[in-house]
Symmetry: D3
Subunit: 191 residues, 6 copies
């Protein structure tokens, strides 16, 4: 268990490559800090879903949020463009294999949860994926508020949201997305 | 909800003061990255407890781990010595009030979970506190492996562990602690 | 004396929390660098006061400027919002006690000077406080010139300046404040 | 041409992942800085080879040194462990395709030089690969002199050097390797 | 040879002072990363010249690009304003002497190439100087795209370009310059 | 006055080159932070001298400490080796001229104080120079406690201290130096 914890420490300092490639300073956001953001966003979304009558397994949501990027301590934080060259299938396979090795000396439901996330079958997996995108957009918004520019391509994701959720769940996620987009419009109208 | 998420983004970049005060470079560990580490450690511990027959509410564990440092986006990451001057009671009250304000426009069990954590009544709260200490020690170990020195005072915590757990839970946490201490001894024997 | 100097070294790397919380990179400004800025600003202001016929104890001004943030090596650089939760009285008491401990093995007028600064009775104490605010605003201006945004709340301080000085002293400080505000207006008109 | 230059600017800030994963601070070495180091090392080695009577195309050596990591502006700096999961063949193909796209709007011998480097057929390609390894080891040595630890695995490369050169070329590269290893032994004997 | 390589490693981390003095974060660009950028720019320019029928010694171009800033590991990266106070002649002499010492235990054409660069007699030296300016401007453009401001004075260089080249060479360099200036105008029209 | 303050802000972020050249991370110590350290050290030393019966003009001491590195905002923080190539006389002249320009639109005793410091005639100038050396050594000690290595050459200064003071003043400065050296010996005996 200790060797796994030591390996996962690496995510605390591993920069999210996307910021560096766009000229933002090193240290803008670590993979661990992003995972925290995904966990928090997913928890708040899950609680809203529950309040609106949707049944959500919050334990599963939080487990997936915490572990969904563990493979990066072996594979690194590959930029989006890398997927074009490796193919998304090869990337998925490599990350799945790396994840399996990271948790190989642990007992627990980690591999199953990771597979669930990769396949996006369960509501919980879809919710974490939505939180992954929304935390990214909130981070971009925060960076733009602090003066960063040149991040337009991240907002293109937001134009064709594909959360694949149903009913109340989809609506709640869309409401958060719309409030992020509104905050951005206001920022750039006043800026 | 968006305003809370924007405020919590601040934890992604807020340095843990302890490292800076001991001469380590800025960017060594953010509060968000530490919260991620606590969440991961708590999840792995909880799964070990469950495997040994202890009943644990993992959802509660992960919720507490994710939210236990949210007050720091308003109060900052105060060094240990600060508590000497403010008093631990005043610090607790200030952080509790700050936490309440951070979540004031959210519906959800956040204030109750925070209070539980602060009072350390439940097994889950104690487990997160143990994970808080153990993630710190694993981080110190990782820093020492990379050449950092002058961190001896962190190990003093480890000499008088006060996890306040029972039976299997106490034993599992102690085993992880002992394996960290063993790894450290080996590091310094070979170094 | 050496132990005090070692402890104060910590201020050279301790980030001013305000920048980090607003999304600026770590390393934007250390507490020591700010103290330098306050000392420089206070010296230039004091010399202008003297030239205009006001009698100023420059030694006292510079001593206070150098020592006014020493408590932060034990208490950390608390963000403004922290004061809301601790209360400004508790904060003052804690910092005063921390300061007293930092200088406890030194002989010299340090505690008296710190108390003078905290009470803002003397002209010199008021002048350093003015320099503390003005150095902050010049730093914000320099950051905005380099592209930083989202720092508007710092300028609110400047709208209701409360320097509590008299006659020529007040006028000289106000002139510097006005020239900072003018430079900012020009920046945003052209930017 | 400008779009290529803008894209390659990204390598100036992209951290070499190996350092971050081992707990060294962000900003330890960029991909561009490493490419500079490879170019310098390759030039000095080439000049030694020439002095010893080996015929070397220095233009080709320096071109390969400068361009051998260009694919990383699209694929990122993948850690060694990533190759285990993607397979070295898939990695090579992805990087070759990324390289081709980076230079697609340029006329010049870039694709041929990159292919030569990847296949390591020519003396020049082998020499750059040797410089790639040697610059890494000199960087590790410099970091260890500055106090970094935990970098032992990099030295394992040095134990089974496989430069694939002949005669004088092999000897000259081996001499540099041996002087690096000697400097490291001296460092750790005295340290 | 090893001692030279160790000394030149320093350029990998030495910040280009110009960015720091204008309020950009430490780590914006190292001297080594800039040398890489000059090498790449010079190579692409040289290949365009060759394609247009100009005869260029590319080996010489790349050698000069790699070595033109080596003196900085002893003299530092002096800001432009420093030249005003030392005089450009004294600066040149100091850098030439530092360069000679850096390469004093190497055999090779380094001193001659450096002298050629300093005198700007050959086409190759002029081409590297042009690449030095153009890489700077592309870096400024990239920083401005990421939100940096306050860098106008760098563009003044671009208004009175003095590349001192002839015919096709001058035209090709001017075309790149004009495309950079056009990209900047577009950035600020849309921004 | 504002333009001077804006220019001096640059010292808050300008790295002391010595650390970078020895492989320590960017952001280790700014020129402004060092000036703060010199001011603090000089103040504590001055108070000890006064307590031992030596008459010291503390205002002058603190003024010189704050302003002695202002020229660096135009000339940069030149490494020691730079002086070998420029000559210490040329360096002094350049820095004196740069200093004069920095303060050219200020009224006050700055140029005279700077000249006094450069000539080291007065007790106060000598005391600041001693504080300049001692703050450097305390910084090195703090860095070595945090794990930094490769800083031995800084300690050579300490072996042949040349403070040029008399009687009690010399003794008090020597006592601080000796306590620094003792702390370093203890560090390396235990480390």
């Amino acid at each position: 268990m200790l060797s796994t914890l030591i390996e996962l420490q690496r995510l605390k300092r591993l920069d999210r490559t996307g910021w560096t490639l766009r000229g933002l300073p090193n240290g803008t956001e670590s993979v661990a800090a992003h995972s925290f953001g995904v966990g928090v966003t997913a928890m708040l979304l899950a609680d809203k879903l529950i309040a609106s009558g949707v049944s959500v397994d919050v334990e599963k949501v939080l487990r997936i949020a915490l572990l969904h990027d563990w493979a990066e301590c072996r594979v690194g934080d590959m930029p989006r463009t890398a997927t074009l060259y490796f193919g998304s299938e090869a990337r998925k396979q490599a990350e799945t294999a790396a994840f399996a090795d990271v948790v190989s000396n642990l007992e627990g439901p980690y591999v199953d949860l990771y597979d669930d996330y990769e396949r996006r079958n369960s509501l919980e997996a879809k919710l974490v994926k939505a939180a992954d995108v929304l935390d990214l957009l909130v981070q971009v918004l925060a960076l733009e508020r602090a003066g960063a520019r040149g991040l337009d391509e991240f907002w293109e994701v937001a134009e064709q949201p594909d959360f694949n959720l149903d009913g109340n769940a989809e609506q709640i996620v869309q409401e958060l997305l719309q409030s992020i987009l509104k905050a951005r419009r206001e920022l750039h109208n006043h800026g």
